[in-house]
């Protein structure tokens, strides 16, 4: 049998095929009858009779066939794809050098991109873990900047209750504030991060308990039963996950509470990093108790200490609700003669959580995208070089009958397989990388719990793999010189690499790589400089050898300094006296809100003997309650007067210490010592509030952040304004950690229910205050380093290939008298030309994108020419090195060897 080529049939083809098959049968049969002696006419009829109903059989076969055809085509397609993949894997295995470098580069590029996207996805894109999170919004008050009330302020209980009663644009609203409890156990008392919440919270968020019930309104009424909800993780940790916990009685801060339910796994609202730091929420909330409004609370519109989250009514936008609520508030202000100008401000919960870090995350995403782009350019370059080297193999396959489409498909399959390998490894890499990234920002990144590799991340990675594979395939297929495939059979394998257009293409890719690297390097350098500048900013205290810990007295029956004040005062006085006497401790003190922890308390003050300020809230100042020898322990320098001492007891004359900025702003030209101020921060059990005499002036302390400008600050002694929680600072002679044991022993001895938490060294605290900046600078630095490495590999590859191609030419030149130095210069020249173009494009790119970075940079050096010059010089030098290696090889070409090369 000889084969006959037929085009594979379509539907019509199938019919023709069947008909000719049957016609052949009938003709052959008729011939047989003729041979038996029939006339052709008789034979034809006899053949048809013997066959049966031709039409019916033909149609039966045709329907059978069309099914066969479809099946066969699918089978062939799958088999073809399988063959392609198997062939691709074989080819890749046969070139381990190429495969390893390409896969490594792709793994790096895709792994880094996937890692950053995983974080971006968790922090910015994933819906918050509450029901219909898009209609949830935080409700804040906004005052005027002139009164020092700028920014989002929490509500007071009075405003909250008004909103709850009247706001029709809200489906529901819930209030909450941080409230930690200490729980005594076998060891030292444990501080449990808690929140007081209105019973509506769980309904508003749409979260149902894992066990038991959430709060009823009755439980939030004054005098109601004391109940608590606990988090899933606290339940596992403390109660071993026993279901019998519901109904169990626990002692919280010395008071009996009944646990009424366990919240589902992962629920930790409010999570501190998602809300303004001043509200003092812990990273995760483990315990909830009902917010109980006293009769006084319902009328209190002044104490702004309650955060609120609302669910918008269906069809109402945040902006519309904001306008409606603000209009109501203004009417209320007029009716009640309030002089304060306050607006409502609604911030979607998603925005609230991710907003502060959105910009830096998106910049990182952009930066890592550039790294990926460079990686792709590099791999494309590798592929181009290899395809050129494979021209002969492709020519053979074309000669053996593979069509253009077939070869292109093969190349595409190879590249997709390559990209998939890179993606798979990149995903694996990113699991570790994400963990490493998160460990760089332990506290300050919002929604850390929501960061994980999910379907969206995997889909993005796979999508990227396929797109990249196709792009690589197109690039290589485009490069195959189809018309010259036959010609290259005659060509020596090693020489089929030239082609001006392709050489230009490869150079273009390296120029791209170098310019993108420069953009990244300049960005990283600017962020690093800004970070270093920030680090040099004096915080106003000295951080070496000091231990910091939060110590909290149990707050039973609410915050009542008139009733509990003496106990708090006595506790901290005794504790600090004992610690100051402890061996190894140089000075021990405490403060109500520790600098650089995001906590700040502000208030209005008035200076006795000066006209009242025009704004309603007075002169704004931060205020602190200090205990023991705080200023010595913290290393805050005294500028004038004295620090607090034994004279400043509760029964002594009321005193205050102010900072330099306070004097500069409110008492210019005056001698501050001896002047008196009255603060709105005073507790109202001493009515009227006392006039405090300024006894000292201290240096400015950066409270909110390292890059915050100095603000007025006042300090009041704990003895004269008792406060239940203090962050203690223990300055030590040797290592800070030696202070821990005396601290724990003394606290337990004085009050077994008081809790010690958040123990760290002051240096750690200082460092973590810059965690976000360090994170951005580190990440960008890493990306810039990766980008530089990749682009140098790319430059090296292009030059090395170039040198390899020109061996003959170089040999001839040297045979004709060129010296090694000339050759070296020739090759270096080539590399430097590419680099120079790359640097020029890069500088332009950096100028164009500089604006994006500016918001992250502290100080005024974004666009600093020195940074630009240094970065460009750096890349230039490294480029020189990358070019020098192949150039030296070229210079050592032995003319005789290279002339014999073919």
């Amino acid at each position: 049998m000889k084969r006959v080529f037929r085009f594979s049939e379509g539907r019509d083809g199938a019919a023709r095929d069947v008909r000719s098959e049957i016609r052949f049968h009938l003709e052959m049969r008729a011939e047989e009858f003729v041979a038996q002696g029939m006339t052709p006419e008789e034979a034809r009829r006899a053949a048809a009779d013997a066959f049966g109903d031709v039409e019916a059989i033909e149609s039966e076969v045709r329907s059978l066939r069309s099914g066969n055809e479809r099946r066969r085509r699918l089978r062939d397609g799958l088999r073809g794809f399988g063959t392609d993949v198997a062939f691709a894997l074989r080819t890749l295995r046969k070139n381990p050098g190429f495969t390893l470098s390409a896969v490594a580069i792709l793994t790096l590029g895709l792994g880094a991109t996937t890692s950053v996207f995983t974080v971006v996805n968790g922090v910015l894109l994933r819906p918050l873990p509450y029901e219909r999170p898009e209609s949830l919004a935080m409700v804040w008050l906004q005052g005027s900047a002139a009164e020092g009330l700028a920014g989002n302020l929490p509500l007071s209980s009075g405003f909250y209750l008004d909103l709850k009663a009247q706001a029709r644009c809200l489906e529901g609203i819930a209030g909450f504030r941080s409230w930690s409890y200490s729980v005594a156990g076998d060891g030292p008392a444990e501080k449990v991060e808690g929140a007081r919440v209105t019973p509506s919270l769980f309904g508003v968020l749409g979260v149902r308990p894992y066990l038991g019930q959430t709060f009823t309104e009755a439980e939030a009424a004054p005098g109601g039963p004391r109940v608590a909800l606990i988090s899933w993780s606290y339940w596992r940790r403390r109660f071993g996950g026993a279901p019998s916990v519901v109904g169990q009685r626990v002692m919280l801060s010395g008071e009996p509470f009944t646990i009424v339910g366990v919240m589902p796994k992962g629920f930790a609202f409010p999570r501190g990093a998602e809300l303004p730091p001043g509200l003092n929420f812990a990273a995760r909330t483990d315990l909830w108790t009902p917010f109980v409004f006293s009769a006084a609370d319902t009328r209190d519109h002044g104490t702004l200490n309650m955060a609120a989250v609302a669910r918008l009514a269906p069809g109402v936008t945040a902006a519309a609700a904001e306008a409606e609520l603000t209009a109501q508030l203004h009417r209320w202000s007029e009716e009640n003669g309030s002089r304060q100008r306050l607006d409502y401000r609604l911030v979607s919960l998603q925005e609230q959580a991710g907003g502060p870090v959105r910009r830096s995350l998106l910049i990182l995403m952009g930066a890592v995208g550039l790294v990926l782009l460079i990686a792709c350019a590099n791999v494309t370059n590798l592929l181009l070089a290899r395809t050129a080297a494979r021209q002969r193999e492709l020519a053979v396959r074309a000669a053996l009958g593979a069509g253009r489409g077939r070869i292109a498909r093969q190349l595409a399959t190879e590249n997709i397989v390559l990209a998939l390998l890179g993606t798979g490894l990149g995903l694996a890499f990113s699991v570790g990388a994400v963990r490493a990234m998160l460990s760089l920002v332990p506290r300050s990144l919002p929604r850390v719990d929501d960061v994980s590799v999910d379907g969206r991340v995997i889909a993005l990675a796979l999508g990227a793999a396929v797109v990249l594979g196709l792009l690589f395939g197109i690039a290589t297929a485009y490069q195959v010189r189809w018309t010259q495939l036959a010609a290259s059979l005659h060509d020596a394998a090693g020489r089929a690499t030239g082609g001006l257009r392709r050489r230009l293409g490869r150079r273009f890719l390296v120029v791209l790589e170098i310019s993108l690297s420069l953009v990244l390097l300049i960005g990283a350098a600017e962020l690093t400089m800004s970070f270093l500048r920030l680090q040099r900013v004096e915080p106003g205290f000295s951080a070496e050898r000091a231990l910091v810990a939060d110590v909290q007295m149990p707050l039973a029956n609410g915050f009542d300094p008139a009733r509990d004040g003496p106990r708090w005062r006595a506790f901290f006085a005794q504790l600090l006296d004992r610690l100051n006497a402890a061996p190894g401790i140089v000075a021990a003190g405490g403060v109500s809100s520790m600098p650089l922890t995001g906590v700040e308390e502000g208030s209005g003050v008035r200076i006795v003997g000066r006209p009242a300020p025009t704004t309603s809230s007075g002169l704004r100042t931060q205020y602190f309650v200090t205990a023991g020898r705080y200023f010595e322990a913290m290393g805050i320098r005294l500028a004038a007067g004295r620090v607090f001492d034994g004279r400043d007891r509760s029964d002594g004359a009321p005193v205050v210490i102010v900072n330099r900025e306070f004097v500069r702003r409110y008492l210019p030209g005056a001698s501050p010592l001896g002047l008196q101020i009255v603060g709105n921060f005073e507790f109202f059990f001493s009515n009227p509030p006392p006039a405090r005499t300024i006894v000292g002036v201290v240096d400015d302390v950066r409270q909110a952040a390292r890059d915050a400008s100095p603000v007025p600050q006042v300090y009041v002694p704990e003895d004269q304004m008792p406060y239940p929680s203090q962050t203690l600072v223990l300055r030590t002679e040797g290592a800070a950690s030696i202070a821990l044991r005396p601290l724990q022993t003394e606290v337990k001895a004085l009050d077994p229910v008081a809790s010690v938490s958040n123990v760290r060294s002051l240096e750690e605290l200082l460092a973590s205050s810059l965690a976000r900046q360090r994170f951005s600078a580190t990440m960008l630095g890493l990306f810039a380093a990766a980008a530089m490495l990749l682009s140098m590999v790319g430059l090296y590859g292009v030059i090395a290939l170039h040198v390899g191609q020109r061996r003959r030419e170089i040999g001839v030149r040297m045979a004709l008298g060129a010296r090694a130095g000339d050759v070296l210069r020739l090759v270096l020249d080539e590399g430097m030309r590419i680099t120079a173009v790359g640097l020029v494009v890069g500088v332009a790119g950096a100028l164009a994108t500089g604006q994006v970075l500016r918001s992250l940079v502290y100080g005024s050096t974004a666009g600093d020419p020195a940074v630009f010059a240094a970065s460009a010089l750096g890349i230039g030098l490294v480029s020189l090195a990358a070019t020098y290696l192949p150039a030296r090889r070229a210079a050592r070409v032995d003319p005789t060897v290279s002339l014999r090369a073919d």
Partner: protein
């Protein structure tokens, strides 16, 4: 099977058998069946073609256009590996069946 007094499935065994010596076109398969059964099994010749295509669908046969010795174009069928296996299995089954029936008939006559 339309137009055939063969036992169900018998035609397919015969087709497989006819192809066990190598590729043949449909007409040759038909002629082999007529000749080797001594025309004892009268089949309508057309019934052969649905059987061929059914076997192909099952993957027992492969088809290819080719030229006959006389230079005419015809579609050739050949056994696939699966077809070969099927032929062996069917032959065993048929022999067992036939001998069982033969034995039973012999007994009832006795």
């Amino acid at each position: 099977m339309a137009g055939s007094d063969l036992f169900t499935g018998t035609l397919e065994i015969l087709v497989l058998k006819a192809l066990s010596w190598g590729p043949r076109h449909g007409y040759a398969v038909g002629r082999w069946i007529r000749e080797s059964t001594g025309d004892a099994l009268v089949i309508q010749e057309g019934a052969l073609y649905p059987a061929l295509h059914r076997l192909e669908r099952k993957g027992h046969l492969a088809e290819e256009w080719g030229q006959t010795e006389t230079g005419r174009e015809a579609k050739f069928y050949s056994l696939t590996a699966a077809g070969r296996k099927q032929l062996a299995a069917e032959s065993r089954r048929w022999t067992a069946f036939a001998s069982a029936v033969t034995q039973a008939l012999a007994l009832s006559r006795a």
